[in-house]
């Protein structure tokens, strides 16, 4: 439903928010995005992981291989301190941006 540009531009914010206060692996992240968006956000596997690796390179998240009892060895991602700051900042920017766009195009809240 949404254009790929719009999805791509907000992917980092979406992933950061999903990792807020919680460690998750890649499949979990994808499923959560799909679930919270009521099925409107679906990403190719390669797209999801390429964004995860980029964010890891920037130091926003950290990936760690963990073997839990009875489970396969998985790579779990956590927000770093820097990632938390980025999340807070991007949340503020998104709120301000969306309010401004709504104002310009004349969309008001119910």
């Amino acid at each position: 439903m949404f254009s790929s540009n719009l999805k791509r531009g907000s992917m980092e914010l979406l992933i950061l928010s999903v990792l807020d206060r919680q460690t998750r692996h890649g499949y979990e992240i994808g499923k959560l995005l799909e679930h919270r968006s009521s099925g409107q956000l679906e990403f190719r596997v390669s797209t999801l992981y390429s964004v995860l690796y980029r964010m890891e390179k920037r130091g926003w998240i950290k990936g760690r291989w963990v073997e839990k009892k009875g489970e396969r060895r998985r790579c779990y991602y956590t927000l770093t301190k820097k990632g938390q700051e980025v999340l807070a900042r991007q949340r503020r920017e998104w709120a301000a941006f969306s309010a401004m766009v709504n104002q310009v195009i004349g969309v008001s809240h119910a």
Binding site: H25, V45, S46, T47, Y49, C75
Partner: protein, 925 residues
Amino acid sequence: MRDWKSYLRQRLSLPEMEGHWDERMISELADHLEDIYREALARGASEEEAEAEVEAWLGDADLAADELVRSEPAHARAQLSRWAEGREEGMRSRGGPWTHLADGVRDVRFAMRALAKRPLFSAVVVLVLALGIGATTAIFTLLDAIILSPLPYDDAERLVSVSHTAPALGIQNAGQCAAWHFTYEDENRVFENIGMYTPSLATVTGGGEPEAVRILWVTSGVFRALRLRPVVGRIFTPEDEEVESPNVVLLGYGYWQSRFGGDPGVVGQTIEANAQTWEIIGVMPAELQSLGSNRLLIFPLRYDRSTLFVGNIGFGGVARLRDGVTLDQANADVARMMPLAFEKFPGGPVADFSERARYTPNIQPLKDSLVGSVANLLWIIMAGVGVVLLIACANVANLFLVRSDGKETEMAIRSAMGASRGRIGWEYLKESLSLGVLGGVGGLALANIGLDALVAAGPANLPRLDEVSMNWGVLAFALIVSLGAGAFFGMFPVLRHGRAAPVQALKEGGRSGTTGKRRQRAQKALAVSQMALALVLLIASGLMLRTFVSLWKVDPGFHNPDNVLALRLYLPPNEIADPAGVAATHERIARRLAEISGVQSVALASAVPMDGNSNVNPLYVDGFDYTGDQTPSIRRHKWIGGGYLETLQIPLLLGRTLTWQDVRLRAPAVLVSESLAREYWGSAQAALGERVSVRSEPPRWYEVVGVVADVREDGLGQDPPLIVYWPQVTLAFWEGDPPDQVRTWRDMGYAIRSDRIGTVGFLDEVRAAIWEINPNLPVRGLQSLEDLMGQSIARTSFTLVLLAVAAGVALLLGIVGVYGVISYAVSQRSRELGLRMALGAQAGQVKRMVLRQSLVLAGFGVAIGMGLAFGLTRLMAGLLFGVSPLDPVTFVAVAAGLTGVATVASYLPAHRAAAIDPMKALRTE
């Protein structure tokens, strides 16, 4: 779990990635796909349907692979590496010598990869090298532009300056005069073209405030000799040099840009200068600046040949030698023509003197006459930064020696497997050369920044500063220095490991034993050499510092120069025609300036001390015999108004000063300097009442009424000249003047003493006071006497600052070197020191042992440095003042200081040694 890894490897063509990222990606994606598959099965899908769902989530395989490759952390680096690999393959496929080039590209690639794995080490080395190479390149750029490059003219090595000497009068470079110039132009056999020129000043009006501009008077031969073409319009022709020809002028390039906006339509416009109208006929290129910087207007010299005589010497001369003519031949031909000048242009007020002065030709390469005096200074600074580079290389060599330990085993294995010594050596060198080149790139960036600062801070009298720029020669120099530095410090591990037998090296594993001892000796030798070189540089800058201090301590002859403002005013003939009027106007202006609030006194003089203006002429002294071969000596002359001594606070030793009364009455009274009094009459006392004259037929005697203290007119570093102070206005002063001829100077210097110098608004009040008398007078040369003093030692200050900075960097690098060696030695000896302490050695004893080791190193470094300094500081003798090149105080102080600093730098490792835990040290392998 299905084998999704194989599935992914088949579908996605991921390249091999650094740090096995490809493996990680495959693993994670495989897990993800497994989850998708299981979820599909859990919903009731068949295996085929579940697989289709996995395919759908993966999407386009090529797109997926591209996305993943781009997200890899070392993607950019990997892209570069792949590009280089591609080029390398291309070269190899061509065969022949291209294969060697391909090998070179591969070696550089691997070297860069190895350096990237140790980013801190590489960064430190590149920074240290960049400092050394940058400093050396910046100074070389100055040297290249000022000393090494030819002048910016066609066939510049054929250009000569035409001047004369009078050794009997002690004049090295008297210059040229019109009579000689025209004689050489008509009669020579050696010059293709010859010209004459003189720098001067003109008042330009018609555009708001009157403007004093720097100008050049030239004959048309100057352009022909230099082979200069105008940028627009035309240059002077011989017709323009005829006395009655129309007024024409050329614009200097800078003036054309700044005042006329570079408009080519400027030809045909007019300009008002020196109260006359001049038609602009063209614009000269910027290269003309070599003859005198920042000359805004160029006027034609015009002479009525019938009035010329051999005299009024002081012009500049330039000529182009004919092909095949040598300097000796040129000098000989000029010597032949000099007597002809007296025949072609006989008579004149100084003919007799000129003939008896026995001038001789002084034809030398034009470049030498323009830049010769500054060459020594630049070479010394170049040597200084060269020393910094050597120390930087020694520092890096030490780092390389330490690092090469880790490679010893690897090299031993290579050697055992058949690699030649050359191949092993190349393994070390390719890294060091790569670092050298990276350091060179960093150095070029630093040099660019440093050069801007150097050119801005350089003394105004440094010639050819406007020609300083980075060119291909400088880039080539930087490349050679970078590769040389890389080869130098890369050789150390090569020499060390090249000799070690593989078996021995493999056994020792690079820890201790013979190779360890050799490494330590090499490191100590490097540390000692760094200290020695740093000492030489520190002594050199110490000597310059003492020179600077000596210069500032010199008694200039005047006092409290910070409260004296100097300026110059020129009264043009169209404003005031007659000399009496000129003198009266100057006096009016001086008195008006004295009325400004806060002004204590005002002086008037043809030259204020150290303002660069001076007048020299023969001086006849009553009672001395000037018949036969005896010629009067050339002395310095100054014309002053009332209040000169009081304003400049020059002590009057005996007699009285000159007053405005003397000026108005044209009194035949003079003051002389103390050294002139001693020279002629044995003492200041004996000079009072004696008589002097500048003319001899007949002489017009002036009585010495006062003797004043010597003044260093030419700068703090120059001896005070023997000088006569004449009244501002004189009668029948020069040879041939009729008895009622009033003489004075239109261009006069003013000195204003006030506590308000440097305060806001004072300069405006000064200008307003002058313009109240005459609004058309441009005020020039406004600066304090203290600034003039500073400018007189500008070159010394410049050299001092550069050497001090170089010495500071050298000291830092040298101390870091010593610290590094001692620190490393302690870490290598930790087991031994631990054992000593376990056997009863006290912490204090261990500390003293380490400090003693450092003192020995410092001692050797200082001793060798002193030896080097003894030999090298003599080369600086020309730059020093008031201090000998072997000054013991400087040598001892610097040696003691450096030893102290080295000891302090070793304190930390010594402290660490004393804090070693014996049990831990003994347990460590």
